[in-house]
Amino acid sequence: MHPILAKKQLSPNVTRLDVQATRIAEIKKPGQFVIVRAAEGAERIPLTIADADPQAGTISLVIQAVGKSTKELVALEVGEAIRDVSGPLGHPTELIEKGKALCIGGGVGTAVVHPIAKALAAHGVQVVSVIGGRSKEWVIFEEELQKCGEVIVCTDDGSHGRKGFVTDAAKEVLEKGGVDIVYAVGPVPMMRAVANLTRPFGVHTIVSLNPVMVDGTGMCGGCRVDVGGETKFACVDGPEFDGHLVDFELLWDRLGTYREFEQRAASACADGDCRIRK
C-alpha cells in the first residue's frame, strides 16, 4: 500500500498526488515511470514520475483524469492509499551535459518535461521551456520550470502568455539558433508537430511515448511502437525515442484501440453506475 501524503489540483482535469514509495523515490531518474493499480480489480496504468523527494520517500504523480481508471485514482484523498506502485520503469532520459536545450510540454506532458528540465539545469545546461494549454487554468508547472530557465507560455485563447500553439513559439526559439536538443512531451499530435518542426533544423528531438501498456516489463507487447521501421516496446526500449523516427500515426491509431470501452465506462461512471465496465 502506498499512502497519499498530499494532493493538489493543478488544472481542471490534472491532479498531483504525492505518494509514499521509498525505494522508487531514492533511485528514480528523469524520464522513468511507474505502473500503478489504484485498488484491487483496477487497471494497471503507466504514469511518469513527475518529481521525487528521496528524504521524504515520496514520488509525485501527475494524473490527467480522462478515463475511468484515472478518475478513480484522482478520487483518492490524502490518508487513502494506492494499492500497487511498481517501478521505476523504462530508460532514464538521455541528458546532455552542456549547451542549450529546448523543453516543450503540452498539457499534462509538462509534468513529464519538468524533471528533465530540472536535471538539465542542474548540469548547467541552458534550458528554454515552451509550455502550453487550452487557457490559463490549463497551464501547469510554470513556476517550477521558471527555476530551470526561461519559460514561454502559450495558450490557445491567449488568456495567459502568448496566443497560439507551442510549435509557433518553439519555431522562434529554434530560429534564434544554438539549440542542441529538443525534449517534447504532450499529446501525440503535438509531439508529431514538434518532430516535423525540428526535422528541417536538424536538431535531435526526444519524445516520450504513452502507448497502452499492461505489465510495463516487456512481457505483453501491447505497447509496441514503430521507430525507424522497427517494432520497439515502449516499456523496456523507451519510453523516450528519437521523435524523427517515431511513427506517430500508428501510435495515435493504437491508442484508440479501447476508445469504445473507455467511452462506455466513462458514461457508466457519469450515470453513477461504475460497476458496468464493458
Partner: protein
C-alpha cells in the same frame, strides 16, 4: 480398504475417464473443464498400477516424483499417506496435476502404455493434491531450525515458488520478488481459470507464506533493485524471472488494432480479470472471429479463451498438422470438443486491415509437409499459388517468447547464450558465484513442470552451496 489384486486383475481394469463439464456448456464459461476423480474412480485407476520395481514413470518425471508409492497408497485407500508422499516430492502437485504434459513424461513412460492405456498418473496426482488441499489433513512438517542464511528468489512463477518451498523447508530465510502485483507468474497471468483455477494458485502461495516465505510484489529486478544490489543483502540468489518478451510474426499489418500477443491477450483476461465481466476493469477486445496463430499450449489457452469470451468462430492457425502440435494432447481434444476450428497447414503472410487499421483478415498460404527438419518434425513448405484470406477481426500471436533483457542488462557479469538466456552449469549456478537460475530465462519457452524441476534442483544446489 481395497484388497490386494493380482497383476492379471489389475490388467483387466481399463483406464478411468476424467469427468468433465459438457463441452457446449463449458465453452461459454470459465469454470474448470476437468471435474476431478471421485474417490471411487481414483481407487479403480490406482489399482491399474503394476507397481514396477524399475519404475520408468519416475524417470519420466522432471521432479522425480515417487509415483508407484503414492499411487499404491491411493489404491489402498490411504489418501493421507499418498498426499504426504506426493507433497514430499512435489511442492505444487495441485498445479502439475493439471498442467503437466503427462503423455510425454510419466504416462509416456508407463509400462501399461505399451499395450493399451497408461495409468492416469496426472489425474491421480490431481486427485491426491486436491484431497489434501480440501481436507487440510496433511500434518505440516515441523518448522526447521533457522539457518540464518538469506536467499532471494526473482520471480514468483512455477520455478520460483518451487524453489522457495524447498529452501524454506531447509530453514533458510527466503524472500520472493515478483514484478507483477500478484504472485504466480504464468500460473496467474497465462494459464486460464478453466484449466487452473486462481484459487488453487492462491492456496499454494498461502502455504508458502505460512512456511515463512516472504513475498514482495511490484518489485522489478533489473529496475527496482539489480542483482548486484541483491548480492549485498543475500547469501544466494535464484533467478527465475520467466520467458519475457513475446515474439511476433514480423509480417505486414501486425501492429493493426486487434492484433495481440498471446501474453497480452491472456494477461488481460486472466491476471487483469477481464474474464469476470462484471468485476474486471481492464478491457479486452471481444472478437467475433478470432484467429490464434500457433500450436502450443499458449495457443490452445488463447483460442479457448476467445471462445469463452463469445467468439462465434475461434480458430487455430497452424502451419503443420495436429500430430506436430506441441500442445498437450488433452488441450487439443478439449479445444476441438468446444468447437475450435483448426486451420491446419496454414501459414500467415500478412494481417489485413480496413481503412481505420482494424483487423479484417489474415492472408495465408496453404502448406504441405516435406522432409523432416533438425527437430525431427516434417518441415512445412508452401503450396504454390495457394494464397487465401482467412476472415477475422482479432489475431492472437502465440508463437513463443524470447528472453527478457530487463534483468540481464543491469547485470552484465551474467553470462548469456546467443539468444539472451542465462547460462548455467550442471548445478544450476550462473557465471556469478551464489547466483543460480532456472525456468524459462534459462530454457527459453518451456513448460511449468520443467520450471518446477529447475526450481527443485536449484534449491538443492543452493542448499549445498550455503552449507559449504
Amino acid at each position: 480398504m481395497a484388497t490386494q489384486l493380482s497383476p492379471k486383475e489389475r490388467m483387466q481394469i481399463s483406464r478411468q475417464t476424467m469427468p468433465e463439464q459438457d463441452a457446449t456448456v463449458r465453452s461459454g464459461n470459465f469454470k474448470e473443464v476437468n471435474l476431478g476423480f471421485s474417490e471411487q474412480l481414483a481407487l479403480l485407476e490406482a489399482q491399474r498400477c503394476l507397481q514396477c520395481k524399475q519404475a520408468k514413470c519416475i524417470q519420466g518425471c522432471p521432479v522425480m516424483t515417487d509415483i508407484p508409492k503414492f499411487v499404491g497408497l491411493v489404491a489402498q485407500g490411504d489418501f493421507a499417506g499418498a498426499a504426504k508422499s506426493l507433497l514430499g516430492d512435489n511442492a505444487l502437485p495441485c498445479i502439475s496435476g493439471r498442467v503437466c504434459p503427462q503423455e510425454e513424461q510419466c504416462e509416456g513412460s508407463c509400462i501399461r502404455g505399451l499395450k493399451g492405456q497408461p495409468v492416469a498418473i496426472g489425474y491421480l496426482e490431481r486427485f491426491v493434491a486436491d484431497w489434501a488441499r480440501n481436507c487440510g489433513a496433511v500434518a505440516a512438517d515441523e518448522a526447521p531450525a533457522p539457518t540464518g542464511k538469506k536467499v532471494a528468489i526473482v520471480g514468483a512463477g512455477p520455478a520460483g515458488l518451487t524453489a522457495a518451498g524447498e529452501l524454506a523447508k531447509k530453514g533458510h530465510d527466503v524472500t520472493l520478488y515478483e514484478a507483477l502485483h500478484k504472485p504466480g507468474g504464468v500460473l496467474v497471468y497465462g494459464i486460464p481459470e478453466f484449466r487452473l483455477p486462481k484459487a488453487i494458485v492462491a492456496a499454494e502461495v498461502e502455504r508458502l507464506t505460512q512456511a515463512g516465505v516472504k513475498i514482495e510484489c511490484n518489485v522489478v529486478i533489473g529496475r527496482t533493485y539489480t542483482i548486484p544490489e541483491l548480492q549485498e543483502q543475500f547469501d544466494a540468489i535464484f533467478i527465475a524471472n520467466g520467458a519475457g518478451l513475446p515474439q511476433f510474426m514480423n509480417v505486414p499489418g501486425e501492429n493493426f488494432k486487434g492484433v495481440y500477443a498471446a501474453n497480452e491477450y491472456l494477461t488481460r483476461v486472466n491476471l487483469m480479470e477481464a474474464y469476470r465481466k462484471e468485476e474486471g476493469s481492464t478491457p479486452v477486445l471481444i472478437g467475433k472471429k478470432v484467429a490464434v496463430v500457433g500450436g502450443g499450449n499458449v495457443a490452445m489457452d488463447a483460442v479457448r479463451t476467445a471462445k469463452r469470451l463469445g467468439a462465434e468462430q475461434a480458430m487455430i492457425v497452424y502451419r503443420r498438422t495436429k500430430e506436430e502440435m506441441p500442445a498437450r494432447v488433452e488441450e487439443v481434444h478439449h479445444a476441438a470438443a468446444e468447437g475450435v476450428d483448426f486451420q491446419l497447414l496454414v501459414a500467415p503472410l500478412e494481417v489485413i486491415g480496413d481503412e481505420k487499421r482494424w483487423v479484417t483478415g489474415l492472408k495465408c498460404n496453404r502448406m504441405e509437409l516435406g522432409e523432416p527438419d533438425a527437430s525431427g518434425r516434417r518441415r512445412p513448405q508452401v503450396v504454390p499459388g495457394s494464397e487465401f484470406v482467412l476472415e477475422c477481426d482479432t489475431v492472437v500471436v502465440a508463437i513463443g517468447t524470447k528472453a527478457n533483457p530487463l534483468l540481464t542488462a543491469t547485470c552484465p557479469e551474467l553470462k548469456l547464450n546467443k539468444w539472451g538466456n542465462i547460462e548455467i552449469d550442471e548445478n544450476g549456478m550462473t557465471s556469478l558465484p551464489g547466483v543460480f537460475a532456472g525456468g524459462d530465462i534459462v530454457r527459453g519457452a518451456a513448460t511449468v513442470i520443467l520450471a518446477m524441476g529447475d526450481g527443485k534442483r536449484a534449491a538443492a544446489a543452493i542448499n549445498g552451496y550455503l552449507n559449504q
